[in-house]
């Protein structure tokens, strides 16, 4: 395989009639002569204007990844502080035995919210913030590929977080633990709205996680700088890519579980009711199918940041890049096989216990590979002991210790003593704080100069580190002993003289020392903004592209997108550092169309294949998120008419978002060597929208699989109730299966029609036909389930939920296909602009497959055993 530089330029897609005529809606190109004679300064100014962030209140309409990333980071950090204060309240209550500082109800709310906020409103959004901010900068792109999706995700997170926090104001804060076990969290044992605040608020905030996953996957695969193959991209991109896939598969079980529990609370559906063939363990399986990958989703970006910073301070590339890639990929997969190790005490058969025990120990292998890659890197030269390096060393100490107690917990006999005791509290804080929070603080010291242009204080940074390190260890190391001495978790108080008194007092003291360290960081952050030394060019001597400009990097990231020939471009490519950053040669220097754009690449080789046109600031993501917030909030308040209004606003927001002229069909000079011309927004599998669509389809399949799992689980573990459930009508199930095949065929025909450049009217007719068939499927599916009463058994309820899920997919498809038809009918679509139909084709095929599987399941269930 030769160096990409010597490869022939990638073939431009075959010219059809579509390219000869200027398509309707595409912006006109400035005449060639005008481009060459306009003065350079005017061109630069025009370019900056295209990329400028609006000021004042209009900044809320900004969709630029720099703005959205910083919003995630700031909001995430604020939630971190809130949850940290809740932790201090917990420690104050537990400082002495039989304390009355907090009553039981308040304590239960405090520890529940501490865990909930840390896991959902701090850790995930914080890593998203780093991802959203850093990815384009490190891969040589001007923005993420779906900026509006990122902005939308942020607003959903913000509104969801506000809903959850507001529960304190209504004295209805969730008090069932962050894990919300049933039956305690069902409507029977938790009356009032507290559990609903959790279920509804967190689900809204989770939308940000899945949208971020789609964005990360599509951006890393499709928008890298020319020549940046998979093996030349920074290791952090591998970490984030794997993390994004884990989010896509790992969050759906929780989303499904939350929907089931909320349906139980609102509608009385008996998913977890043992008198109706339900099972409390179903919740635990769904929760931990999410919960275990979740903690690796949190750990991997932290390790990725260590893998980025550590080589900089050694001055040598990461040792064993190939090893690390294998370790990260295998760890992503293996983490999905561990979930039941949270359930060792629930009475699972010993074969299951042993399977999950073995799998849990196995994950030590890829973890060890990464740690040893880091240690080996340290040996390559004498490292510099900067403040971020302190936090990296802290990570090594704390995380390795936590990982080893994790291997201890994987041993079932030991787990049966340590489970639900303070030993686990110690373990989880060692791996989460060691594996994520310490790298996060290192990353903040490292990248804050990129945000603000100034360096934070070395002296205060060391104080912050030592206070945090010593406070953390004092607080949490003791807890290993406390737990083994018999102290269970989640208890508001404890009697004296059981051997826990002094240990708890020490833990509380340590917690406050840790808090003091964080306070020092905050003071330093605010101080440095006016008093910190200005950061020069590449202040840390780093190798990656985000340091190309002297901080603060301009809004457009790269004036021209350089070609990449190395994994450490700033170290190995002198043409990137021997001249001002704005004069570096590269792609897309000209901006004749006055549009935001970046280069689209082949996912594996990094060869340039298209120009990606990116959105300018817009209000639609905020409107759509606001609509969803009203929908969710009104449902929580049981104001269902208002929920409808919210849904309408969201729909209007989404429609405005996607109703825009297409950029496809044009070809432009990319500015890469010898006038290489590239198509804009291609309509084929290289399209970033195609990749994003596939990521979304992956998530939809994961949601579907979670529901199937729920059904199969109940069928298998509650056979009497499942067999006694009424049977679906087989004739309608068969009809649904047949119509699903028709939907599949029509969807396939629609994509082929686009790829082959077929007449628009034909495609429009197929759109309408598809709509009719989809409506038919919804009808037959409902008729199949008419004989089944969803309240009669948990198995029946899951069947109806499965059908409702398919119904939601069908509704989306109906809207989408009619939307596409309408746009063609009003003449808003030109030739070569069939991307929406191309994507609909994939979506339709996926939905058809899921419909067919559901129909087959109903056929099977409809047949007497």
């Amino acid at each position: 395989m030769t160096d990409a530089r010597h490869d022939p330029p990638p073939a431009v897609p075959p010219r059809s009639d579509a390219y000869e005529t200027a398509p309707k809606g595409a912006r006109e190109t400035a005449p060639k002569g005008a481009r060459e004679t306009a003065p350079k300064g005017a061109r630069d100014k025009d370019f900056e204007q295209v990329w400028a962030t609006p000021d004042g209140a209009r900044a809320l309409s900004s969709v630029s990844h720099r703005v959205v990333g910083k919003r995630f980071l700031i909001t995430g950090f604020i939630f971190f502080l809130i949850a940290g204060i809740l932790a201090l309240l917990v420690r104050l209550q537990l400082m002495v035995p039989e304390n009355t500082f907090l009553d039981s109800e308040t304590y239960n709310q405090v520890f529940t919210m501490h865990g909930t906020i840390m896991m959902f409103l701090f850790a995930i959004p914080m890593l998203e913030g780093f991802a959203v901010y850093l990815i384009p900068l490190m891969i040589g792109a001007r923005d993420l590929v779906f900026p509006r999706l990122g902005a939308f995700g942020y607003y959903c997170y913000l509104f969801g977080g506000i809903i959850v926090l507001s529960s304190f104001v209504f004295d209805a804060a969730p008090a069932g633990g962050w894990f919300m076990y049933v039956p305690l969290s069902t409507s029977q044992y938790t009356q009032g709205l507290s559990a609903d605040f959790w279920l509804i608020g967190i689900t809204l905030a989770e939308i940000a996680s899945v949208t971020a996953a789609i964005e990360i996957i599509a951006s890393i695969l499709c928008s890298r700088a020319p020549g940046m193959s998979l093996t030349r991209m920074p290791i952090l991109m591998w970490y984030l890519l794997v993390t994004a896939f884990m989010i896509a598969i790992g969050f759906p079980p929780l989303i499904i579980g939350s929907i089931l529990l909320e349906a139980e609370r609102l509608l009385g559906l008996p998913f977890f009711d043992i008198t109706q063939g339900g099972d409390p363990l179903l919740w635990q399986h769904l929760f931990w199918l999410f919960g275990h990958p979740e903690v690796y989703i949190i750990f991997l970006p932290g390790a990725g940041m260590v893998a980025t910073m550590l080589p900089v301070f050694v001055g040598k590339p990461l040792f064993g890049y190939g090893f690390a890639v294998a370790a990260v990929v295998t760890m992503g997969f293996l983490s999905f096989g561990l979930w039941a190790h949270h359930m060792f005490a629930t009475g699972l058969p010993i074969l299951s216990l042993s399977l999950f025990s073995a799998a849990s120990t196995m994950v030590a292998v890829p973890t060890g590979v990464q740690i040893f890659c880091f240690i080996a890197t340290l040996s390559l030269a004498r490292p510099r002991l900067t403040v971020p390096m302190y936090f990296i060393l802290g990570f090594l100490f704390i995380f390795v210790l936590g990982g080893l107690t994790g291997v201890m917990l994987a041993a079932v006999p030991f787990n049966l003593q340590a489970h639900d005791s303070y030993f686990v509290v110690a373990h989880l804080h060692y791996v989460l704080i060691g594996g994520f929070v310490f790298p996060m603080f290192g990353a903040l010291y490292y990248w804050v100069p990129h945000f603000t242009g100034r360096m934070m204080s070395e002296r205060l940074g060391k104080w912050a580190f030592w206070l945090m390190f010593s406070g953390f260890n004092l607080a949490f190391f003791m807890m290993h002993l406390t737990g083994l001495r018999g102290m269970p978790r989640r208890i508001a108080t404890y009697p004296a003289d059981l051997g826990w008194d002094r240990l708890n007092m020490l833990s509380t003291f340590g917690a406050f020392v840790l808090a003091a360290g964080i306070a020092v960081f905050i003071v330093d952050f605010f101080r440095h903004r006016h008093a910190g030394p200005k950061a020069g060019h590449d202040p840390w001597g780093a190798a990656t592209l985000e340091w190309l400009h002297t901080p603060v990097t301009p809004d457009y990231n790269f004036r021209a997108i350089p070609e990449i020939r190395s994994r450490e471009p700033l170290w190995d490519q002198p043409e990137l550092t021997d001249r001002p950053a704005t004069e570096i040669a590269g792609a897309l220097r000209d901006n004749a169309d006055h549009r935001r754009e970046t280069i689209g690449c082949d996912p594996v080789t990094g060869a340039p294949v298209q120009i990606l046109r990116l959105p300018h600031p817009t209000w639609f993501p905020l409107i759509a998120a606001l609509g969803l917030a009203v929908l969710f909030g009104a449902t929580l308040a049981s104001l269902y008419w208002l929920s409808g209004v919210g849904a309408g606003i969201a729909l209007a927001g989404f429609t405005g978002w996607v109703w825009e002229p297409s950029d496809s069909g044009a070809v432009r000079d990319s500015g890469i060597r010898d006038g290489l011309e590239l198509p804009v927004n291609v309509v084929n599998r290289h399209s970033h929208l195609y990749v994003g669509n596939m990521a979304m389809i992956l998530i939809l399949f994961a949601l579907f699989a979670s529901l199937l799992f729920a059904g199969m689980y109940l069928w298998n573990t509650q056979p009497l109730s499942a067999d006694a459930t009424q049977r679906p009508a087989r004739i309608y199930a068969l009809l649904t299966l047949g119509l699903a095949v028709v939907v599949f065929t029509l969807s396939w025909m629609i994509s082929r029609s686009v790829l082959l450049g077929g007449p628009l009217m034909l495609t429009a007719m197929l759109n309408v036909l598809l709509a009719v068939i989809v409506a038919g499927v919804a009808l037959t599916l409902t008729l199949a389930l008419v004989p089944v009463d969803p309240w009669s058994s948990a198995f029946a309820a899951v069947g109806w939920t499965l059908a409702a899920y398919i119904g939601a997919l069908l509704a989306v498809m109906l809207y989408w296909t009619l939307f596409n038809a309408l746009r063609k009918l009003v003449g808003a679509v030109g030739p070569g602009q069939g991307l929406p139909d191309f994507l609909l084709g994939s979506f339709g095929k996926a939905a058809a497959v899921m419909t067919a599987i559901t129909a087959a399941a109903f056929l099977f269930a409809g047949t007497p055993q």
Binding site: L230, T231, V325, S352
Partner: protein
């Protein structure tokens, strides 16, 4: 290079399928519905593991050969390395999946 990406992903994907199979087999034998006799289940699990194990070992040896013939400075070398290590880790993980079924005689020990 695209082929190498597949070579990194396929061993661990095989592990995932193997894990799902073992989990499904244990669930089928040990849950209240008791679809499968335990000894039959163990035999099936053994066969499935044999198949998966052979496949991943083939991939491991093929990958090692490819790595040996890959130039040290070739741009795709990290992926070739990753493919070998992915196969190694996956092979170990597949074997470990079989541990409970191999060692324990029945659903309750």
């Amino acid at each position: 290079m695209t082929a190498l990406v597949v070579h990194v992903a396929r061993p661990i994907t095989l592990w995932a399928l193997h894990f799902i199979a073992i989990y499904a087999l244990i669930s089928a034998a040990c849950a209240p519905r008791a679809l499968l006799d335990v000894q039959v289940m163990r035999a099936v699990a053994g066969l499935v593991t044999l198949g998966a194990g052979l496949l991943v070992l083939i991939w491991l040896f093929a990958g090692s050969r490819r790595l040996r013939h890959c130039a040290a400075s070739a741009p795709e070398r990290p992926l070739a390395t990753a493919a070998v290590w992915s196969a190694t880790i996956s092979a170990l993980a597949i074997l470990l999946n079989l541990w409970p079924v191999a060692i324990l005689a029945g659903c309750s020990g």
